[in-house]
Symmetry: C2
Amino acid sequence: MEIFDEKTEYLEGIGKKARRAEAVMRILDTEKKNEALKLCAKALTDNADSILSANEEDLITARENGMKESMIDRLKLTKERIEAMAEGLIQVCDLPDPVGHVLESFERPNGLKIERVSVPLGVVGIIYESRPNVTADAFALTFKSGNVTVLKGGSDAIKSNGAIVKVLRQTLKDNGFVEDALLFIDSTDRAVTTAFMKMNRYIDVLIPRGGAGLIRAAVENATIPVIETGTGNCHVYVDESADCDMAVKIIHNAKTQRLGVCNACESLVIHEKIADKVIPMICADLKSAGIEIRGDEKTRRIIDDIKAATDEDYYTEYADAIISVCIVGSLSEAIEHINAHSTHHSEAIVTNDEASAERFLNEVDSAAVYVNASTRFTDGFEFGFGAEIGISTQKLHARGPMGLRELTSYKFKIRGTGQVRG
Amino acid sequence: MEIFDEKTEYLEGIGKKARRAEAVMRILDTEKKNEALKLCAKALTDNADSILSANEEDLITARENGMKESMIDRLKLTKERIEAMAEGLIQVCDLPDPVGHVLESFERPNGLKIERVSVPLGVVGIIYESRPNVTADAFALTFKSGNVTVLKGGSDAIKSNGAIVKVLRQTLKDNGFVEDALLFIDSTDRAVTTAFMKMNRYIDVLIPRGGAGLIRAAVENATIPVIETGTGNCHVYVDESADCDMAVKIIHNAKTQRLGVCNACESLVIHEKIADKVIPMICADLKSAGIEIRGDEKTRRIIDDIKAATDEDYYTEYADAIISVCIVGSLSEAIEHINAHSTHHSEAIVTNDEASAERFLNEVDSAAVYVNASTRFTDGFEFGFGAEIGISTQKLHARGPMGLRELTSYKFKIRGTGQVRG
């Protein structure tokens, strides 16, 4: 830890800047924060050309490295995408400031007046992959919530991210704001990323945004508190009393509306009393949408031209045109199967039985539990939070979609008149 | 990770039991939980003899190992101490159940009804040192909040802890409750403790309770989310407008009332305009209470018979009869010094100036910030929470004293009528 090599020195420098900026950001008022975000939005549009030419460099490298076209598309910026980033900053201005709210207040018998007040988390580290728009999005949300952000983006997008950060920091500086509210780790060295995850002295919270591999690396290596986000092995359970047409419609939406997202349905659980009727309907619908179905033995007795599902299938977030199916004998068995295999992100029951619905809501241990609705609604915008930094699948701090409020902590302010403890 | 040696198998077994018990605890109602706690309280008193004889074995080993008498006292149980543990369980019955509260509810334009509801954290791991009473205290709080607890106590108290756990588990079992709501790692092997800290699949949250070494080991080794508790390098700042008598009284209480506790004052920051007057008063008082004072150069110009403080002193939580002092030129300098050296636990300002008080409350980045009161009040009981599992010094999840509410998470329950995402 105390080896002052070049990398350590570089990260220490960033950490110290972050802590200094934190003291300024902590007390910046709402009007000022909104003013800065508006100026930054304008600067992004005004400097689109420099961002696009940096992005072009990333794209050339990516093509040289043989990146898949679907990944190239994630990396690619256009005038329209930059305008969308700017628009995102403006939208965050309109959201309420989550800092400085008195969450509760009470007086003790000894006369101490205690207030619990929302405050910024402090310095938030964000590690993400190849989408450059995350750079502007993450800045907007953390800035509005009074935090300092240290960004570590994917190597593929390093020039694009660097160009966006440069525009934002310059705008802050030119307008009298603390430019170090946004810091950027300009390195593609994995050792730097690992060291970054252990900067407890300077970083209060680490939010990894990306695939399962990135999340696992953060959980396993970080000593900074991590908010685990994103992985979703989401289930839809069709109860014996379900409306079959509704089940087909919800499953179609949950599985096919967007394949690669964390709130997409990956596994179906069907009550045996409705299986003969509903499984052929669901399978016909999914097959016509190009989805491969993998089922247990009971399912294959109803539909015989599908692949067998292994136990591993039931643990898998495909993020692809594949779905697993199994048949259960009861609601209890369904709940047990889901709790054992789920990543505790989002699960839904389709039912017309209120008691079953309530049991499912209470006993399924996931961030978002639905009755008669698609799992695709687990999203900060769909929940009306106006923004989203990620979807937490852990129980500590925040669970489910995280908006501005989830980027705050609190402190106790205690006002006395000389009280001492007896 | 997949090496199935004996230790791994032992911990895996405990993990699986914990997850099975979690499903039962999650839906146990308040009345049942209180009934179990009352039965456990009675059982502790009824079985005091077996607990005391196990404790005697620990004490013999401790004396053979040359344990200090102050530590022996922490380890020692008596009939009275066992009655106090039982009384603790009864007190927790009277506290409100933190589970099942609708924290907010709203309807979306598409008709989805969304509720945010408090739920248990799930499985809570607690690592602690030599006080056997923590075993019963931690059980009471986690059980009342619907959690399963896996305890790993200190080696010194292993027989005592084992005996207490045996009584509690037997009582749960005999009365139809799930005995695995309380699990105990009966091992003194450090490798087992380290493996325990990485059981993400089975444990949702890890709370280390103990000294700085234990906390550091948890933060550095755990892959489970940790709630950092306890270490307190707490400051009292005497502003230029302070009432000097009040300053002496508050500092006396904050430093001397109990030396080894985390909310004790370890460092004084004095405004230079009041230093000549107040420092001799404070030093006379502290010296007569047997406290060693270490000061910066400016302080030593006022009081010359004290030791010089090094920079390290200002970072140190002595937990002993020592205090550091420094003189600053302004409130800003005081805030900067405190934020740079504090562990962000509890800090106080003594002042008659309201603007200074507000600045201190807003700008000092600690869990509890006081105006004209002793730092010793940072405590779940003193705050009126009725209980305390620890004092968080991190910003994620909970900050400051943690009671029953802080042992919960939340989930979203969403009720629809067939909604799908457009």
